[in-house]
């Protein structure tokens, strides 16, 4: 499979008032052409910083200490700002978490969509407007002709997110990065937007990075999953690997804390104890150790490397070390997975 994007050993810190915040501490992942990769993790784990690094819109106080970002064989970090401007929009589109603040409040939305077409693609105005209307219809905005001349505040949250998607699609990008595109929306609207993104992905054969803190939406969106914790990828695998055979205790906690359709009143949802580490002082050993039931002595001293589980499945936990004691995932999670597997078999068979 062709790799469209590859991030290797990315390290980023922020110069903050209190010191250097080590937000990204060696992130590596790749994205195959035409697939959807979900990056999952608690808020603050560095998901947005990673996407901002890929699109090079990091704030001024961010420093990339190390790493490589390769898009279609091009070294994105080595490009000049001018060269990179042709990547933004044309190749990589970005969808933001909060569509309320992502749109310019005092510019008509039609103009916000046509802007790049006219300024960058040098498209004649009429043509650009026709294209914008087409896009607005494609993302499901009714009365596009009329709404073209309205301002963002005249739209609901879900409609605004559709506009942001239309803007991202305007220049026909091949890679779409969605940074928690539904977090700021009502639950009822969330699934509509997810469906829209899925539909667009299929129609245009886009490669998609889908960022979320909610494993619940991952199952029906993604092909592969990267689980992120405290500035690192701790587990990587296909959706099946992650949902049916998770290896990392953090992934276990995420899965166990996720409600699903057959969660009954009596069932207990697990809450992950403690909080993510303060990234001003990242811990010496595994960052998850203080919150981990299964932590061993080594976990507080040395960071685990990525252990290979299968060709598609990797996890960074000492539990996978051949000498580690045999530790199983929590019983109720195991039970749940078994139920789900049976369910899935029924559908398939």
């Amino acid at each position: 499979m062709e790799r469209i994007l590859e991030v290797k050993d990315l390290h980023i810190h922020f110069n903050a008032f209190a010191g250097a915040v080590k937000a990204i501490r060696g992130v590596s992942f790749h994205l195959n052409k035409g697939e959807t990769l979900a990056i999952v993790g608690e808020s603050g784990s560095g998901k947005s910083v990673t996407t901002k690094a890929v699109t090079r819109i990091l704030p001024d106080n961010a420093v990339i200490d190390n790493g490589e970002i390769t898009y279609k064989g091009m070294d994105l970090l080595a490009m000049t700002e001018k060269e990179f401007n042709n990547i933004r929009g044309n190749e990589i589109g970005l969808i933001f978490q909060d569509p309320l603040s992502a749109l310019d409040p005092v510019m008509k939305i039609g103009k916000q969509i046509t802007e790049t077409l006219i300024l960058k693609q040098k498209m004649p105005k009429k043509e650009a407007e026709a294209r914008a209307l087409e896009l607005m219809k494609a993302v499901g905005i009714p009365n596009a002709e009329q709404r073209f001349h309205e301002y963002p505040f005249q739209f609901s949250g879900g409609m605004r997110q559709r506009i942001v998607i239309a803007i991202a699609l305007a220049s026909n990008p091949q890679l779409l990065i969605c940074d928690e595109p539904t977090t700021a929306l009502d639950v009822t609207i969330q699934s509509q937007i997810l469906e829209l993104i899925k539909k667009i992905q299929k129609e245009r054969n886009l490669s998609v990075i889908f960022i979320t803190h909610d494993l619940g939406v991952v199952a029906n969106m993604a092909d592969r999953v990267d689980v992120m914790y405290a500035g690192k990828i701790v587990e990587e695998g296909t959706v099946e690997d992650i949902f049916y055979d998770p290896k990392h205790p953090y992934t276990w906690s995420l899965l166990a804390s996720m409600p699903n359709l057959d969660t009954k009143g009596g069932d207990e949802l697990m809450v992950i104890p403690g909080t993510p580490p303060n990234m001003l002082y990242p811990p010496k050993g595994d960052a998850f150790a203080p919150r981990n039931h299964y932590a061993m002595k080594i976990d507080f001293d040395r960071e685990p490397p990525m252990f290979k589980v299968s060709d598609t499945h990797y996890a960074a936990t000492w539990l996978l070390h051949p000498d580690a004691p045999k530790v199983e995932m929590p019983a109720h999670l195991k039970h749940r997975i078994e139920l789900q597997l049976k369910e899935a078999e029924k559908y398939n068979g």
């Binding site: 699109t55 819109i57 704030p59 700002e81 001018k82 401007n85 042709n86 933004r88 929009g89 044309n90 990589i92 589109g93 970005l94 933001f96 909060d98 603040s101 992502a102 749109l103 310019d104 409040p105 005092v106 510019m107 802007e115 790049t116 300024l119 960058k120 301002y151 505040f153 005249q154 739209f155 609901s156 409609m159 942001v164 803007i167 991202a168 305007a170 220049s171």
Partner: protein
């Protein structure tokens, strides 16, 4: 919109009435005597009779209001005896206006440029230098500025004349030369105000999410800044710039006095000092009109430049 304007104008009229009444009574509390100290009692009596000052205060007030409502603003007592107050003010306006137009022509572009530069170069030496200038300007009152400049440039260096050349109303280079110092003195405050506002607003706009979107869709930094950040940051600036335009008419009491400029500003202090009751009231009234009008204009301007308010109230549709 029309209803809103009418409401505001009615409120303005009420405010002006209160100001007028307050100034009518307050002015009598200021020590001083219309005839001047040691004037003959007959003279004083005659003067008082002419200006209704011999009647009970309340009756004076009624007469005064009646006249005022019929646009008879009274006559000057001491400063320009018997000249209608309206004429005096009208004649003073051009001088003040001339000076202030120059000052504003300096203030707005320099203020905007400094504010924009500081925001774009935030936390660099450019920003620090501009911020230092702002603090310097804000913390030193204009009369100190004016006096020090006058001392250095007019007295020590003799570059500029002490007083304004105002013999003719036409415009000449030497007249402009004589106006430079007061123009500068008038501009410093405004420049800092605009700089401060512009810097804060633009900085906020530059760090907004819509700038990220604008960049991520492929606009260059310059394009994003011009098309999105600047547009957004200009809107709140109406707040400071419109009142500055209105102040063109008002002038500055301090600067006009120091440089001996016979404009509205120096008229105000002179009329108070000479107990020129009706003149003082009229000048205060004039100032009140200016500031109330500019407040109204500021509010209305938001309705014009900001679509959220212009179309607002229009509900969000699904």
């Amino acid at each position: 919109m029309l209803k809103y304007i009418l409401k505001r104008v009615a409120a303005m009229a009420l405010t002006l009435f209160i100001i007028l009444s307050l100034s009518f009574f307050a002015i009598r509390l200021i020590p001083g005597d219309i005839a001047g100290q040691g004037a003959a009692p007959e003279l004083k009596a005659a003067l008082e009779a002419r200006y209704h000052l011999d009647k009970p205060l309340l009756e004076q007030y009624v007469i005064f209001l009646k006249n005022f409502l019929s646009f008879d603003f009274g006559e000057s007592i001491n400063l320009y005896p018997r000249r209608p107050v309206f004429q005096i003010i009208r004649d003073k306006i051009p001088t003040t206006l001339q000076l202030n137009i120059f000052s504003l022509a300096l203030t707005i572009p320099i203020g905007l440029a400094c504010g924009i530069a500081a925001a774009l170069k935030k936390n660099t030496w450019v920003d620090y230098a501009i911020s230092a200038m702002v603090v310097f300007n804000v913390s030193i009152p204009s009369f100190v500025f004016a006096t020090v400049m006058q001392y250095i440039f007019c007295y020590k260096l003799e570059w500029f004349p002490f007083l304004l050349e105002l013999e003719d109303s036409s415009f000449s280079l030497s007249k402009f030369w004589s106006m430079i110092l007061p123009i500068l003195a008038l501009s410093f405050g405004g420049i800092s105000t605009i700089t401060r506002y512009m810097r804060a607003e633009l900085f906020e706009a530059l760090n907004s999410e819509y700038m990220l979107l604008s960049k991520s869709k492929g606009l260059s930094k310059l394009q994003s800044t011009l098309r999105h950040a600047l547009r957004n940051s200009f809107i709140p600036l109406c707040n400071v710039i419109i009142p500055m335009f209105m102040n063109l008419l008002g002038g500055s009491m301090v600067v006009e006095n120091i440089f001996g400029i016979p404009g509205i500003g120096s008229l105000t202090s002179a009329s108070i000092q000479t107990s020129d009751y009706y003149l003082t009231i009229a000048v205060l009234f004039f100032y009140s009109c200016i500031s109330l009008t500019s407040m109204l204009l500021v509010d209305l301007s938001y309705g014009i430049v900001d679509p959220r308010i212009r179309i607002g109230g229009g509900k969000v549709r699904e």
